[in-house]
Every structure is written in structure tokens, then in C-alpha cells.
Subunit: 348 residues, 4 copies
């Protein structure tokens, strides 16, 4: 990979800066520009501490810059679809954070545009690149576990977001569980045909006031008859709880939480070990880096991306069905062709 991919980032919030930090140190990329509505002192300090120089431009500047080959869309969710369309029209390859949008019509339109322009689009379901979950995927694909029968995903945040975030999040299923929906499809390699949601408001009445839940168990049925169950909470006091298990006809595999150290302390009072890594920045640190390395490889080798627009769209459809099931109290059927949307897992 001789010549690096010149990149612009649209949106310099937490996730935009995270990608910037990773892009900065990878020889595969050359980070040229960052667009942010208001470039305040705090942002300038951040850029200076990274020796980024005069990196700030407008979003349009990025799209109009012929040197820039790929655009990272890290803006608020409700503008993702807009920037995807703009970037596609400008013939840039696109890395977009999840979800693509909160509206299936918008998502469809954005994907249509990507297809028309023939650019690449990778959606930021970073957990696909987590070393432990990749290993699970390899175990499924290699057949070591036989036919998958049951997939179990535990996904619990260490602390709930604020009310403003909740109100604009699209709800827990679209904001948080969407990662688990993608993980379920990714591991199973087939499509979900039915969704049943049992949600509750047990953590904080605020969620109820926002019309949202904070606790849920969601059952997904797959075309093959296999079953996935996801359990979510907005508040696991002991830290970020991210575990996955695949149970199949030939065996089972579990991926446990990661912890800062391996130290176990035994005293007269107790035997203790570390809590799980605090939150997604720590737990998926490697995955955030690996997903953009995979993006670079897809661009340079003209390979399929590890997580496509269709993958993003399918996870959104499942999230919509989960919401509907929660509303009605009944299982909701989903109809799309089995397998149509599962990106290939690249051997990296």
C-alpha cells in the first residue's frame, strides 16, 4: 500500500476525534481536513496536542477537495444521510457512523445514491472487529461449532445517558441494541425473520418519560430456526458488560468481558479482580482502529467492505421491528431474503 488514502472527517465530536487519532498514526491514511461547525478553543487545543496544524475547513471544502479520497461522517445521526448523499455525489468513499438514519426512507435514499455513484460505504459497526467477536465469527464460519442453534448477547452500558441524548437517540433499540442486532446477523450469517421484545423501565423513570425503555430482552428468530437472545441495560454499575455466546450442534464458544489487568487479589475479606473495561472507548479501542484498517484495505484492494450499507439498513429494520414489538407486546415478523445483506467477513 504505497500511497496513503487522503481523508477528510466531517464532525469533530468524540467519535470524530477518535477516528482522527487512529488515522493520524496509520501510514495507510493521510488525514488532511476536519469539518466542524464551530471550531472553539478546546478543539484547537486538541488539534495542537496532535500536531495537526491548520486542519479545519468546511464540509463543502472537504467534498470539493480533489485530493481527498475518503470521507468519515461523524456528525449527529440526523445528518448522516445528508452527508452520505453529498459525499457520494462528490465521488468520495464513505465511512459512516451507525445508524445511517432514524428513518427507513432516508436510509434507502442514501443507499440508493451510494449505489448510483458506485462509491464504497462502510458503516461503523466497530464491534465486528473486536478480537474476541472476530474469533467467534471464525469459529462459526469454520464449522467448528456446527450449526448455530442459540446466540446470546449481553450488552449493558455502565451508566445511562442524559435526557437530551435519550430524546434524540431514536430510542434504546435504535441507539444501543442496534449494535447487538448487527452482531447477531454478523455471527449467524443469515437474516432475522421475527422479533419479540420485552422491555421495561427499571433504571430511571426519565426513560419512561421519554417514551423509552432502559432494560430489555429481545428474542430474534432466524430463517434457519436458530434463536438469538439479547439482554440490555442502560446501567450496569460494575462497568461495560459485553459478552457473546454462540451455541451450536458441535460446541459452544463464549467471549467474556475484557479487564484492565489480570490481577486477582485475595485477602481475609474477599477475592477480587478488575471490573470490565469502563466503556466502549476502552473495550473497543482495538476494534476502532481495525475497522478503519479494514476500510483502507477494501479501498485499495477493491474488496467488499466489512460492514456495508445494507448491513446498516438491516440492523435498522430489526430495531424498528423491536420497537413495534415493544409497542404491541407481540412478536413482529420481518420479510427480506435470507442472507441478502450479510457482508463478507474479510480475512485481514
Amino acid at each position: 500500500m504505497v500511497n496513503p488514502i487522503v481523508v477528510g472527517i466531517i464532525g469533530a465530536g468524540r467519535i470524530g476525534r477518535l477516528h482522527a487519532d487512529n488515522l493520524r498514526v496509520m501510514p495507510l491514511f493521510k488525514l488532511k481536513s476536519i469539518a466542524e461547525a464551530v471550531v472553539g478553543e478546546e478543539l484547537l487545543d486538541w488539534a495542537e496536542s496532535r500536531n495537526l496544524g491548520s486542519v479545519f475547513v468546511s464540509g463543502e471544502d472537504i467534498l470539493n477537495d480533489p485530493e481527498i479520497e475518503a470521507v468519515f461522517i461523524c456528525t449527529p445521526t440526523d445528518t448522516h444521510a445528508y452527508w452520505i448523499e453529498q459525499a457520494a455525489r462528490a465521488h468520495k468513499n464513505i465511512f459512516c457512523e451507525k445508524p445511517i438514519s432514524l428513518s427507513s426512507a432516508q436510509t434507502s435514499r442514501a443507499l440508493q445514491c451510494v449505489e448510483e455513484e458506485g462509491v464504497m460505504l462502510q458503516v461503523g459497526f466497530n464491534r465486528r472487529m473486536d478480537p474476541s467477536f472476530r474469533r467467534l465469527k471464525q469459529l462459526v464460519e469454520s464449522g467448528e461449532l456446527g450449526s448455530p442453534h442459540i446466540v446470546k448477547i449481553t450488552s449493558r452500558d455502565p451508566q445511562p445517558p442524559g435526557e437530551a441524548y435519550v430524546r434524540s437517540s431514536g430510542g434504546m433499540f435504535m441507539d444501543m441494541t442496534i449494535h447487538d442486532f448487527d452482531m447477531a446477523r454478523y455471527l449467524m450469517g443469515e437474516e432475522v425473520t421475527e422479533v419479540y421484545t420485552r422491555g421495561a423501565n427499571l433504571v430511571d423513570p426519565m426513560f419512561g418519560r421519554c417514551g423509552d425503555v432502559d432494560t430489555a430482552v429481545i428474542t430474534l428468530t432466524f430463517a434457519s430456526g436458530a434463536i438469538c437472545v439479547i439482554d440490555n441495560s442502560r446501567k450496569a454499575v460494575y462497568g461495560y458488560d459485553q459478552r457473546v455466546e454462540v451455541f451450536g450442534s458441535h460446541g459452544s464458544a463464549t467471549a467474556d468481558n475484557c479487564r484492565p489487568t489480570t490481577v486477582e487479589v485475595s485477602t481475609a475479606a474477599s477475592v477480587t479482580r478488575d471490573q470490565p473495561q469502563h466503556f466502549f472507548l476502552e473495550r473497543y479501542n482495538q476494534a476502532f482502529s481495525d475497522e478503519i484498517a479494514a476500510f483502507a484495505q477494501a479501498i485499495r484492494l477493491q474488496e467488499p467492505v466489512i460492514c456495508s450499507g445494507l448491513d446498516g439498513q438491516q440492523a435498522e429494520r430489526i430495531a424498528e421491528a423491536a420497537k413495534e414489538s415493544h409497542r404491541s407486546g407481540l412478536p413482529v415478523k420481518l420479510s427480506f431474503c435470507a442472507g441478502e445483506g450479510i457482508s463478507a467477513m474479510q480475512a485481514l
Copy 2:
């Protein structure tokens, strides 16, 4: 406890003999008689190897023996209710294996009879006495975990039973998941209000031919809004998989599988440890012994039993609802008063 409780066992199959072995070595009990329809050579050999002497009589002999204070009912399920009634009428205290019956009417009649005669009835949900699950119960009751929000129960058998067994078992929910239904009520200390079942026939087509499932995920909703999810398989090739997790507002607790040794072997090929203990005889060895010790204590101290007839009945009701949900594909509501049926957990 000066004078031991004189006991008769009705039914000398696998579970009857297991109880006999435990009764034999506990000073709290004196095993006097065993009733079995046909006493063949193999059974006589077994009795001789235990120095049990001339222990075999008829069921009626046991009930008519004034020295016998307690009866263990270890016959096939379809005769449990009959023997409960007979034993109650004979004023014996009763230990009965689960389920009480496969029919709610029969179960009700048997419990009615127990109540009329004022005898004690303990149902054999032995897992309540498993050391790890008892610790979970204590953690819930002590409030250390806060309000329980999510309970997860994994219960997978190492190998499927034969077709004859399946046909007479009452189906997986009544035969196997019933233990998990009881565990859910026991840990939560409240009643289930809704059941949703997602079952599948993935292990062996035989189950399908019998009108049964071999794989299932069952979601239970509790009166408080808390959610329990159970996953079952009739065939976990790596052994008997019995794990429970309680997640609450103040913390989470997991009970893992037990293994024959703690040895871990690291070679150039792999790092391995033991598979879980093979099946219920090994895993719940201690629990089988402790449940009858608890029964003795309940009798001698006139305390409530650790698992009552009502507990047995409620688990059967949930199993019925699970079957119905599987049939209809819809969640099924359950209506009984919250908390009416949860036996107290005795500090033993």
C-alpha cells in the same frame, strides 16, 4: 435431632436409588422400606451392595406401616398424584419428585388432599439447594444486588433422551424447563405474569415427530417488570451446562458450571480445562443430599419446606403457558396473585 425419621421409598428407579443412597448415610433418617413393582436380580444386587437387607415391600405396606413417618415418591410422573393422595390419607409426610403431575386438575386435587390431611409435602426441585444457586438466592435476598432486573438461566442437557421418554415426558417445557421455571421464581421471589416461548427442532427430528422441541428460548415477565430469559437445549456436546445470572440495580452475580477438577493444561496445541460435570447426578450430587436434609429439618422443627406443593404447581402452570405460547406463537399471560406461591428459603 435424637430420633431419626423412618422413611419408605416408593419407586426404586434411578432417582429412588439416589435418595436411598443419601438416606442410608444420614443419621437424620432411617430407611426402612422400598416399594418397587418388580424386584429383579439387578435391584437385589444393588440392595446387597448397600447392606440394605430385606427392604422391599409393597407401596401399601409402606403406607400401612405405622413406624414410617415420611414417604419418598419416586415413581413415574403419571402416578405421582395418586401416591401423594394415598400417602396424605395415610398421614405420612411426603417428598415427591417433580412434576407433581402433567395435569393441572390432578395437581390441584393432590395438593387439596395434602392440605386437608395437614401433612408436609416437599417437591424435589433439588437445584434450589445447589451451593452456587443458594448463594445467588442469598445475594438477592440480602439486597446486595439491589432490585433484580434481568435473570438469565442456561440449562442444556448433555444428550437427548430416547423417544419413549420424550413421548411420556410431557414435553421439554414440563420435563426439563420446569426446573428453570422454578429457579426463576425462587430467585426472583415473585410470580411470572407473562410467558413467551421461541422453540425449535434443531437437534433431532425425533423431537419434532413427537410434537416436541429440543431447543428453546423462553422469556418470562415478572410482576415487578423484571425479565427472565431461559435458554434450553437437549444436546450440549460438551456436557451439562447449568449457569445462572442475576443482574440487578446494584450489581450482578453469575453462577458458572462445576467441573471435575481445576486442572488447566497448556500445550503447543491448546490450553484446555475440564468439561462441565457430566449430568445432573454429578452436578447436583450435593443438592440431592441437602434437599432431604432440609426436608428432615422441616419435619423435626415444624418449619415450612424449602419447596412446597404450591411451588410445584406454579412451575407447572408456567410450563403449560410456555407450551401454549409455543403453539400460538404469541406471549401468554398468567394470572395469579404475586408472591402467593414462593416458599421461604430457610437458612439451613
Copy 3:
């Protein structure tokens, strides 16, 4: 094994009663008599709670009883050798607690007598029967680990014994480490050629006043060049710490502590699991039972015992050398023929 082995126990202290409890419930044995110098009320209560009847006789009664085929010697250490000789002369098979004596001359004389009379003698190094350590032994014998290069034994007591015990114990190496010396020989299957001790008095000055240590690291060199290192403490505040590791040319195997439950509790404050099982009665509960089953098998099948008098003697020799090394501060060489004293490990 049709006819049980009729047994008498000499000494009804803690360990004598432990064996009595195990003998009582094993059909292989018939416990007939127990000898104890003073049979007080507490002891009578114990016997009554076990339905043992009029079991108490004198030691001479046991030796003179022609029905008694085997004798368990559970008296204080300084009388072991005496009773071994008496029992051998009375043509009883002998199970004797460790160590045989605190004097190499006494031990030799006792073993000589056993040999002359042609009776069986098993020494109570119960840890050989611990399921995890047996598994290590099997891994060594099967060759799965290749040639053993390093053996590591951690053996730490939960609390120190009292001063009276320490003064009569023969010192930590003879009282406590002797188990580890036997474990080292057992696992390696060859003899120790050199001992280096580094001891310290860090737990309680009382040990120093008694001329003893409470903390030690002992290095054993084997004939093959393999090295074993043992670390001991009289006080591990978190419980009984019993771990063993065998590292060989083809791999390594570790045996970890056993814990009462598998429960792990995660809260905002910590992630905790159980401390190790409290002490030897809990940890080696199964081993105490299995060692006497092995003794029964050796008697009935005329097989070698799992731990011979020579095994007992060799462990004592190593303990003497360890003491001498501690005294001189120098390594001490041991000269006996490689392999002469290792009992075969029976496949049970």
C-alpha cells in the same frame, strides 16, 4: 468385593473420627471398634449421632480381635511407630497417618517389622487422591507434558497452629511441608537428590521461640535434573492455598484452588469470587474418602498400596534434609537410589 473389611481405629481425635465417618458409609468396610484412651461424653455423643453403638474398646482389644482385618492408626505422631509394630505383629493390615515417626531410626524399625510380618501398610498422604492432583499425575504418566522440568507447589495454611502443637510437631518441614515433599516425589516419579531451604519467621515470633519457621521456600533437585520449588506459609489470610503446577517439555498443567461455589459478584465496588475452601477437611474431603477406598482395593485385590511405608520414609528423609539445610544455610545432598521408593499410582 463381597465381604467387607472389618476395621478397628486406634485414636478417635479429629482424623480418627474423619476416617470413621468415611468407613461408616462405605460398603467396602465394616467399622467394628475404636480405641481411645479416655472416652468422654463428647466422644459418646459423637458416636451416638452416628449410630455407632458400643464401639469403644482398648487398642489391645482391637489387635486381639481375630475378626478385625485392618487397623487405622490415628494416634499422636510419637506413637505411630509403636502401633505399627504392634499391629504388624498382630497380622493386621495397617493404614497409618503421616508421618510414621519423627525419628528415622524408629521409622526404619517400624517398616522392618511390617516387612517381616508381610502385612500391608498404607501411609496417609491423602493429597495423592485429590482429583486435581491425580489428574496432574496422569498427565505426567501419560507423557502429555513431556519430561517434567519444573514442579511448583504452593501450600499455605489459613491460620497458624498453637504453640503446644508447634512444639510437638517436629517443625514445619516435618509437619506441613512433608505433604509437599510427598507430592513432589509422587508427581515426578523419581527421587530427590538435593534440598535447599530458605526459611523465615515472618508470621508470628512464637515460631521463632519454638525454633521453627513459618514461611519457607524449598528447592528440590531430582536425579534427572528437574527442579521442584515449594513455598509454604503458616498463615494465608484468604484461606487454604493449595496449588500445584507441572511444567514439562511438551506443556504445563496447573491445579488451582477449589472454592465453595462458582459465584462471581460484580458491583460498583468490586468483582469478587469465593475464597478457597477453608482448610484440609473441606479441600481434601474427597481425597480422604478415596484413599481408604484405594486401601480396600489394595487389600482385596492384593495390589500395591497407593502410598507405601517407603514413601512415608522418603518424605521424612527429605524433611530432615530440609531442616538441616535451614540450619546450615547450605544445600544438602540426599543419597538413595532413584525410584526405589515411589509407589505405583493405581488406576482406580
Copy 4:
């Protein structure tokens, strides 16, 4: 830290490049020049893949460059002392890989020169920065474990080095165990007073031909009476085995191996998890980065380095004593003042 520290690296072998990669991405540093005797194509490719530009100069150029504030010495061991002296005379701060030299006279002279010139010298005992071992250090310093009584260090390489390496390595104690000697001093915070070595040649006769060992157990006695035991092997077939345990009067703490994923796979054949991370580049990846961040902090904040020249010298003295003990078969006493050489552990 506004202005980055301009750095030159002397030696572009494996470890020099590793530091270069870390320096390159840390805003605290500016990597300006690298000196390597022969700059071949492979090295130029490496530099190009990092966008390092024309970075290669001579060692003298680095020392004469007034902009360069700190020098990393990554040359073969036998030139470390030379370059330390040159760099000190040139008034550069120095980061030097371990050991400082293979000769105590050389090491003393180099340290003398560093002291005379008043420059900073940090020795590359990177394991001090391993997250798990730092946690152990904090547990010792906080007093949570009470007085340390026993420290156990397991350090085994996945595969032996080649004969050429062995011949120039200074022997296993100086090349490999030296890390463990430093770890023992670091954790205990006091000096070693006696060393006893039991070494063997069990892995490959080549080591014996080179006058070296490949397997060893080394016992260190500390001034306080505490004992440390290190076990080493040049070949652990299952991977890089790096574990440490500190046992004290109030508790014990263990640091286990790190593994690439948390996945555990259970099949009919076995239950497996990952082998330890392959070797030091993987296991100490974070530590290599953190040690140079600590170096930057020490320079900019004028704080003591986390591992001083004296620390390097003391580890060499212990290695010399270990060699002598192996040669003589006897324990070797060491005389230096307790605590004189332990660098403070910085809160980073």
C-alpha cells in the same frame, strides 16, 4: 507538555524500531534521527512505510545535534556503556536498553559518567510498566497486602534463541532472568541479600555446550527476610509465560498471563481458551509505550526516572551472583545497603 522532546535513536534493530514506532505517534516526542551502521534496503523500506523521511545519520551526528535532547541506546549490549558515556558527555538525556553492560566495571564507569554530567538515565526494564505488574506494585505500596513474605515470578520464553545469541548473551541470568531480578527488587522495594541458583540444561544440549543453562529456579532472600523465587525456562511450548504473585501478611495478589482474546470454546473433545500472547512484543506492547511516556514526563517535570542506572546495576549484580551460585552450587551473599537502589514508582 508544549514542546516535544527531540530524540535520536542509536541502533535500528528490533528494539530500536519498536521505540521508533512508539516515539513516532506520541506528541511528547519528535523523532529526528536514527543511527545504524549499515542502512540496507530492508531498513529503508521500513522507514518509508512509516513516512520517516531521511532520518538516518551517524551516531556522532546524533550526539553533535544541538536540537536533540534525548538519545535512545538500542545497540548490541557490548556497546551500551560506550554510548552511555558518549551521550552523557554530549549532555543528552539517555534511555538505554538493559543490561547496561556485561561487566560490573564498565557499568560503574558508565554510571559515574552519567552522574558527573548530570544527565538523566532510564534503563529499559519495561516490565515495570506492565499494567498488571504496576497494579501489584501499587498493592504492595498501599499496604493492602501487608508485609510481603513471598514473591513468585514465572518467566518462560516461548522458544529458545539461537546459539550465536546465546554465546553473546552473557548467559541466561544476565540476559533473561535480569528482568525478573529487577521485578523482584521493584515489587519488594528492598535489596537482595542472598542468591541461590538451581539451574539445569533440559531444553537443548546447545545451552550446555555454550556453558549456559536453559532451566532454572532462583531463590532470592531480602533484607527483611522475605523470599522471592523465580522459575525460568527457555522453552514453554504453549507461549510466553509471564506471571507474578506477591504473598503478604494481609493477602496475596497474582498477575496472570494475557491472552489475545477472551474466547473459550467447548466441544465434545475439550474446553479450550487462547494461549498466552506470543512473546514480549505482544505482551509488553503497552509497557514499551508507557515506559517512554514516563521518560518524557521525568525529563519535562524533572522527576526521577522510573528505572535508574542504579536499578540497572543492581539487577546486574544479582545476575552475577546467580551465575556464581550456579557455578559453586552454594548460596551467594550480596552486600549493598538496603533500599539504596530502588527507583521510586511514579504515579503516572
